[in-house]
């Protein structure tokens, strides 16, 4: 059993999806329970992996390998390092919470859950894949189902734009779910095309005999190849991580997506992008990474500050959370670009922290939207009176978002800013701190406008607080934020040895500047 834990994590959701095919549509409870079982098995397996993983070593462990296409040197090869463990736990947590939060979905839920589970398998696969081809395969499995999930189960035009520019909106159907699904998929696929070129270039330069990540990492690639291939991987993966200016799929896509999909997409999928940049881009092409790092860092700073400012102006609740994701993913990329251990620890920590808090935020926004049927801030107000639990969890997630000590967000941001100050460009840290302040501005303003003040709309007096399974989702994620915030070593003990080893290898290969 323990020898195949990684396969179990990856396969469990897909297996559940397969079982769903066999269950008739009308057995709705069974459909949900099967979905939940798939998610829970993955989460439990992830916890088991975490307990078996030897933390202090920081190496790849629990390896499994099955031949896949031997002629091309492709193996189905899995292993985890400390980063992988942390991200597996995150994915398991968000998946279970996402299923619990969409318990009351009423439209073609079997199909929804099948697609969702396949996507989750893809995500798990990316975090454990040790073969570049398999990595890319799982990456695509994780990205593509979004088109259906948003296009079919999404929502349209929650807040209608006025003014003369409304004709532009109508022409493109901006805010529509088909538009959002199409835009998200096409932009991410364009990114994938760039990644594919980069991957093939690396494969060819390495002799064209193996896709094994460790073998590829041991090679030395031409400086010129590294210099042109790295930006391909950076932009390609980065478009999924919301790197400016390829982030614009995120606000529209996350706003139109149904609750569980927003949770998974912002909570986990955006991390695939950042993980890809670090794990594939930077570690396979260290020299390229070192040369491009200053530009990466500057773009990340744009992400942080520009994303935060954009979020401040939004009227639609989901757009606020989506832009805040763009801003927070900037912190991850900033950490990656700073190229030191503190910053890298912070970057991966931020992936986890942002995953949990944005998962929680999207769950809550979905809850509020489902009850009030509006996402327009101007139409809300005073909701804390009727839904105190939702208000409390929203406040916790918001405080984590603005980096309050005692929440996961603080540790991540603090590590990244310390690392950024240590890098060649200390002003990045200053910009990051300013971004954290602007986050405080829009988060607190949003909490006040949604939950505080008098109730504007008499219909809102009859709204109900979260119920049954929704509480489960909220408590899981809320508790994770607080527990990790007070005892960050739950995460950093996994990250630190791995980060140290990875960064050591990278800097050795890149040659000190």
């Amino acid at each position: 059993m323990n020898d195949h834990l990684l396969s179990i994590v990856v396969a469990a959701p897909s297996l559940a999806a397969f079982l769903l095919f066999l269950i008739p549509n009308r057995l709705r409870l069974l459909v949900r329970l099967t979905t939940l079982a798939g998610a829970v098995v993955s989460l439990v397996a992830a916890i088991q992996i975490a307990s078996l993983y030897e933390r202090t070593a920081g190496t790849f462990q629990l390896a499994e390998r099955y031949p896949f296409v031997p002629q091309l040197g492709i193996d189905l090869s899995f292993a985890v390092d400390g980063w992988g463990v942390a991200l597996l736990l995150l994915t398991g947590l968000i998946t279970v919470a996402g299923v619990l939060a969409s318990w009351r979905l009423a439209h073609r839920e079997k199909e929804f859950f099948i697609i969702l589970l396949v996507l989750v398998s893809g995500v798990f696969g990316v975090f454990v894949a040790q073969d570049l081809f398999i990595f890319f395969l799982f990456y695509e499995i994780a990205v593509l189902p979004m088109y259906l999930l948003i296009g079919i189960w999404g929502s349209s035009h929650a807040v209608v734009e006025g003014g003369p520019l409304k004709y532009v909106w109508r022409y493109f159907d901006i805010g529509g779910r088909e538009y959002a699904a199409m835009k998200l998929t096409l932009m991410l696929l364009a990114g994938s095309a760039l990644i594919l070129v980069g991957i093939l270039a690396i494969y060819r330069a390495a002799g064209g005999t193996t896709f094994d990540l460790h073998a590829l990492a041991a090679m030395h690639y031409d400086r010129s190849l590294q210099l042109w291939a790295f930006p391909l991987l950076w932009i390609g993966f980065g478009s999924l991580a919301g790197v400016f200016p390829f982030h614009t799929w995120s606000p529209d896509g996350h706003a139109s997506a149904p609750t569980a999909v927003s949770m998974l997409h912002a909570g986990v999928l955006m991390k695939l992008g950042a993980f890809g940049v670090m794990r594939i881009g930077m570690m396979l092409l260290p020299e390229g990474a070192r040369v491009w790092a200053p530009i990466m860092g500057c773009v990340a700073v744009i992400n942080i500050v520009y994303g935060a400012f954009s979020a401040t102006h939004q009227k639609d609740l989901k757009y606020i959370v989506a832009y805040s994701s763009v801003s927070h993913m900037g912190v991850v990329m900033l950490g990656a670009a700073a190229l030191n251990v503190d910053a890298w620890n912070g970057a991966v920590f931020q992936m986890v922290a942002h995953g949990v808090m944005t998962g929680l935020l999207f769950a809550l926004v979905g809850l509020v939207y489902e009850r009030t049927h509006t996402r327009d801030l101007a139409k809300m107000g005073g909701l804390a009176r009727v839904m105190p639990g939702v208000a409390a969890f929203f406040t916790i997630a918001g405080l984590s978002s603005l980096g309050l000590p005692g929440t996961a967000g603080f540790v991540a941001e603090f590590l990244v800013f310390i690392g950024a100050w240590k890098s060649a460009n200390p002003w990045w840290a200053v910009a990051g701190v300013i971004g954290a302040f602007i986050t405080a501005v829009y988060v607190l303003a949003a909490v006040r406008r949604i939950f505080w003040g008098p109730i504007n709309d008499s219909h809102h007096l009859e709204l109900l607080d979260a119920n049954g399974t929704e509480w489960g989702a909220l408590w899981m994620l809320g508790a994770a934020i607080i527990v990790v915030g007070f005892w960050p070593r739950l995460v950093t003990d996994f990250l630190d040895p791995t980060t140290t080893a990875h960064l050591h290898a990278l800097l050795n290969a890149a040659g000190q500047p």
Binding site: P245, T248, H313, N345, W421, K422, A429, F437
Partner: protein
């Protein structure tokens, strides 16, 4: 027999446990008896343990530290968490727990018309606050101090916004958090600089002069925010929207004093930066005078006390800036007692009268003799009337400032001493004497509210005589002497009361012309408007630009790509006419071209 460190942990975690239980177990939170009981149990345990800590520490005066590695990065124990007990944290621990206990007992009476679930929330916040504050006080390094610092900021936000349905309270809570968060960016940057230059977060680190000035200035920005110093003071008067017991605990006695506590704590760092200290002395004295002037013209009882708090915090900072952390800390201690007393007494008045406005009060001395007595006692202590607690600590600050020959701050502080007596005299005369204004039957509070007043009255009276003991805990000497400075300051204080008697003796009192001019000046709210301008015309404007650029430039480019592609495809589609003649023509043309190309080669 438990060790001192264990008692400290108990003082820290008892309120944490109370907060956790109340937050997680909803049924307990919804029953008044449980929420009050659990919260009080937490604070009483904390107070008892804090007293044990002081007793344990006073026995041998050896600082105790107990830490665990809290965060590791790059293989090194990057940051420790734990408790540090010395002559500063031990007495502060008691002060915080004692005032918190008084405030929580008072709250039971003050908030008696609140619904039980809502009160459960209140007591959960109170316990959380106490935990955060003790975390800050016991911090073994500046990072944990920052941790507690931000958490008290968050609980302050929650408690100011306790009546969240009231728009003014909601706005005040957000404003308080924004302003302090803005200031805290300085602390965060200061800590980042500190860890880069010393590799740790210790307050005893040795720094190069330039770096020391930079770091301490950054820290001081946060102090200005937390301790409401000009120009970051604007959140404190608005914070009075919260329940009065909250104002007493957070916005008078303990949380706002955390700024001063930080400076006392990091005194070894500040000692390496004389420029910062000079700035602190001038700014503190200036703030003291400025806030004292504003306190004079407020019509809201709580706002008078709020500005008075700004003013007294300025006093403390001026004293520390002049080089005597002991003086600042001593005043912090005495101020905590008498200002909490004043606020709670004000709460009793507000509870009885049903309004904050001074104009709705008057003649209350006969109806509420006990409240009037303790309020006047607190006022005399605040104004530095000889023999009361405030007198000793104020005197020490003034002596230090005069000794350092900081003449400008000294004059400002002397004037403030006069103003303090003047505005407190005004409040006393307007509220307690003269004819009755409001209808109803105000009366002295019942037991739950009276007990804390009496409990706080004792230290407000007596704690001044323990100055040498408090100083001795941190190994400093202090003994009281009668000096010219002291005589001048006390005379000014008495003169202030005299003046107030002359002006406001008659009801309804005609405000003198300078007061009217000052009130008109204060009404303009220059500082508030400056912030509003920066927020509306700066931050929000830039935000609207960013959002516009994102939608109509960055995103439009993406949409343009899509549109071009679709448009191009539309054109290309026309080649497929479905007309056999066209296809034959194209095939023949192709064949012709190929043949021509072949021949030409």
């Amino acid at each position: 027999m438990m060790s001192t460190a264990s008692w400290a942990l108990m003082a820290l975690f008892a309120p944490a446990a109370a907060a956790l239980i109340l937050a997680v177990v909803a049924p307990l939170r919804r029953r008044l008896i449980f929420s009050v009981g659990i919260s009080l149990l937490g604070v009483i345990t904390s107070l008892a343990s804090a007293i044990m800590v002081v007793v344990g520490y006073a026995a041998n005066l050896v600082p105790v530290e107990l830490t665990v590695p809290w965060l590791t990065s790059a293989g090194r124990p990057f940051l420790d968490a734990g408790v540090h007990i010395d002559g500063i944290s031990a007495p502060m621990l008691v002060v915080v727990a004692f005032v918190a206990l008084c405030v929580q007992i008072f709250s039971i009476g003050y908030l008696d018309d609140e619904k039980a679930p809502s009160l459960g929330r209140y007591f959960a916040y109170q316990s959380l606050f106490l935990f955060s504050m003790q975390l800050l006080v016991l911090a073994p390094n500046l990072m944990q101090l920052f941790f507690g610092w931000e958490m008290v900021g968050a609980t302050s936000y929650l408690l100011i916004g306790y009546w969240y349905a009231k728009p003014s309270a909601a706005r005040a809570a957000v404003k308080a958090f924004w302003i302090t968060k803005l200031a805290d960016m300085g602390l965060l940057m200061g800590l980042i600089l500190l860890v880069q230059n010393t590799g740790g977060f210790s307050w005893t680190a040795h720094l190069e002069p330039g770096i020391a000035t930079a770091i301490t200035l950054l820290l001081f920005v946060a102090v200005m925010g937390k301790s409401a110093q000009f120009p970051l003071h604007i959140w404190l008067p608005d914070a009075m929207e919260g329940p009065t017991p909250v104002s007493a605990l957070l916005h008078a006695a303990t949380m706002v004093a955390a700024g001063v506590f930080l400076v006392v704590r990091a005194d070894p760092l500040f000692a390496q930066a004389p420029d910062t200290r000079m700035f602190m002395a001038y700014l503190g004295a200036g703030s003291a005078l400025f806030a004292g002037l504003l306190a004079l013209v407020q019509t809201d009882l709580k706002r008078v006390l709020a500005y008075s708090t700004c003013s007294q915090l300025g006093y403390m900072l001026a004293g520390i800036g002049a080089g005597s952390a002991t003086a600042g800390f001593f005043h912090l201690t005495t101020h905590a007692f008498f200002k909490a007393l004043l606020f709670l007494a004000a709460g009793a008045i507000i509870h009885a009268v049903g309004s904050n406005e001074l104009s709705r009060m008057g003649g209350l001395a006969k109806k509420m003799p006990m409240t009037a007595f303790v309020f006047i006692l607190g006022s005399l202590s605040l104004a530095g009337v000889p023999g009361l607690a405030g007198f000793f600590s104020k005197d020490l600050i003034l002596e230090t400032v005069v000794e350092q020959q900081l003449w400008l701050p000294a004059v400002a502080l002397m004037l403030t001493a006069f103003l303090t007596a003047l505005y407190m005299g005004r409040v006393i005369l307007l509220a307690f004497f003269g004819p009755r204004v409001s209808e109803g039957h105000p009366h002295d509070p019942h037991f739950a509210m009276a007990l804390p007043l009496l409990l706080l009255a004792i230290p407000s009276l007596a704690v001044g005589y323990f100055g040498h003991w408090i100083a001795g805990l941190s190994g400093n000497e202090y003994s009281f002497h009668i000096t010219t400075t002291g005589i001048v300051a006390s005379s000014l204080g008495l003169a202030g009361f005299g003046f107030s008697w002359v002006i406001w003796r008659k009801h309804p009192a005609e405000e003198p012309a300078p007061m009217r001019a000052l009130a008109a000046f204060a009404k303009r709210a220059w500082v508030d408007n400056a912030y509003r301008f920066i927020y509306r015309r700066g931050l929000l404007l830039v935000a609207s630009w960013a959002a516009w650029v994102d939608r109509y430039i960055v995103d439009a480019l993406i949409n343009a790509c899509g549109a071009l592609f679709i448009g191009g495809a539309g054109r290309a589609r026309r080649i497929q006419t479905g007309n056999v003649r066209d296809y034959l023509f194209a095939v023949s043309l192709g064949a012709l071209c190929l043949t021509a190309w072949g021949l030409w080669r």
